[in-house]
Amino acid sequence: MSKYFYIALTSIRSRLAYLGELGSKTIFLFVVLYIFLCLWKVTYAETNQSSLGGLSLKQMLWYLVVTESIIMSLPTIATLVDQDVRTGALAMQLVRPMSYPLNMLAQTSGERVLSFALNFLVGSIIALTFVGPLDFNISGIAMFLLLIPLSFALDFTIYFLIGLAAFWLEDTTGLTLIYSRMTMILGGMLIPLELFPDGWQQILRVLPFSAIVYGPARVFVTGDLQVFLSVLIQQIVAILVFAFVIRIVYNLALRRVFSHGG
């Protein structure tokens, strides 16, 4: 296992070599958070409520800090896999005594953890400046820290599958685009699930998107044990299901290796 941990560390080190790109992302983060702060301010004022979907304005901004950090930290998993398949670079990975899926998981997770930490740091500074600190409780943070890696792992399994589709499809960017937009919208990046119509909520809570974005953010701002447990189960089940699908698809794919890219 230590080799995968070391791959993750190496990936972080490599990512540090081009921090500029991360820096420019944080400017975008600032703009997004500021716009949504203004929008939510108006919404809270117009509806004359101090709490929407169980969140105060302050919690709402912190919720956005977490969801935006999750979404913006996304490494280009599907593109990497797609490229490996299409160019035949996969060969270089297969001649090593290691598993390609786990290697990709380690590599992209290292990158994502670093990117998430930076986004979250900048987001927190923005939130602190505009709305002040959240009433944190230690157990809430602990629960959040448990959900975040699982959220990344789940997101990885789906993007990895999309990348593997390159064995059959001419182009996987369409799938990536569809999936990423669904994660943003149905995962509750901008609007917490509680504000969706009741019928929708039922469905969205079962889909994997909310386990990636909404779940960790909600637990972070409210420290709700009930939400934590259900998101945790949702994540574990989804990861197991997708890992199983990857196993099948990956083994099928390996037999097709290098009819591409000679």
């Binding site: 791959i7 490599s14 270089m92 001649v95 290691m98 290796v257 290098f258 000679g262």
Partner: protein, 338 residues
């Protein structure tokens, strides 16, 4: 002597889909069509053939990346495609067109990472790394990010990387591609030195005749997925180099030469270039004839470059090459050792 690689009747077919209008038609392409060969431990073999001959496909099957359609292979006692991970620890692979180094990090970091991936003991790793650094002269750029290295430097690091875990067989797929003359020469020397001194079996593909000449002692030519020639490099040269090129400079205008099997290629002033077919006429006879017709100032005898030999083999139909070529290989080896 024990075999490092043995292959028997290896076949790989690909399904090729073509579209004609709205309809897809499938056809089967035979990339590798019944290859049989064996390579002794410690041998250095050049595996050559024109583009699309099945070289890379064969290498990919031997390294376990690709499943064959049928046939058997054994590399260091493993069936590659069944025991890929186990075999991976004992072989090294360099694909000249792909990098295994981390682009934004210095080579030192990739070495470090590979030591974890191959689970090399730290003391073994350190001593081997230091030896590779010294032999491959990596120290000057060991801490420079790979993106800033020249191709020659990078390839040296790539090959060193693939030797880090002490592989018993090393597969090199066009390792010198794109390198300049000096970098190419350096890399060849390193590979053949490693083969000689460490007993590593070298399996090399290349389009460069120089690579074959300098690194390999045996050459296997494949074309259309089949072995068309399997022989010692020196014998290939001798056997297929029936033509010699003679450049002669005379003191004054000589008489014209008239001998069967001698062709005048070039003539300028008192300098001549003859091509001699040594099967049609003994070289001795040609020499005396050359001396007879005029006063010779300077003379050189050359073999045509190996490239021409290879081109000849590629273009010839398979039937032209005798099956017995490989059989007296052993005799020839003993002869050269004694």
């Amino acid at each position: 002597m024990e075999n490092a690689v043995s292959v028997s009747q290896l076949v790989k077919n690909f399904v090729l889909k073509k579209r004609a209008g709205m309809r897809w038609t499938e056809s089967e392409v035979k990339a590798v069509d019944g290859i049989t060969l064996s390579i002794e431990k410690g041998q250095s073999v050049a595996f050559i053939g024109p583009n699309g001959a099945g070289k890379s496909t064969t290498i990919k099957m031997l390294t376990g990346i690709l499943h064959p359609t049928s046939g058997e292979a054994n590399v260091l006692g493993c069936v590659p495609w069944k025991e890929r991970t186990r075999l991976a620890k004992r072989i090294g692979v360099v694909f000249g067109q792909r990098s295994q180094l981390w682009y934004h990090l210095p080579p030192r970091d990739t070495f470090e990472l590979l030591s974890k991936i191959y689970e090399i003991k730290q003391d073994v790793f350190k001593s081997r790394r230091d030896m590779l650094i010294e032999r491959f002269q990596l120290s000057e750029f060991l801490d420079t990010p790979v993106r800033k290295l020249s191709l020659g430097q990078r390839m040296r690091a790539e090959v060193a990387c693939s030797l880090l875990h002490g592989p018993e067989v090393i597969f090199l797929d066009e390792p010198t591609i794109g390198l300049d003359v000096i970098a190419r020469q350096e890399l060849r020397d390193l590979i053949s030195e490693w083969n000689r001194e460490n007993g590593v079996t070298v399996f090399l593909t290349s389009h460069d005749a120089g690579d074959i000449q300098h690194v390999a002692r045996r050459v296997i030519v494949i074309n259309h997925g089949r072995v068309v020639l399997d022989d010692r490099v020196s014998r290939v040269r001798r056997q297929y180099l029936r033509e010699k090129v003679l450049s002669v400079k005379y003191a004054d205008t000589p008489e014209s030469i008239s001998l069967d099997g001698v062709k005048t290629l070039k003539e300028s002033g008192h300098a001549f270039k003859f091509e001699v077919d040594t099967l049609a006429v003994p070289i001795e006879k040609v020499m005396s004839e050359i001396m007879r017709i005029g006063s010779v100032v300077d003379i050189t005898i050359e073999d045509p470059p190996l490239e021409e030999v290879i081109a000849h083999i590629y273009s010839a139909p398979p039937s032209e090459f005798g099956e017995d070529a490989a059989d007296d290989d052993d005799a020839d080896e003993n002869e050269s050792k004694s």
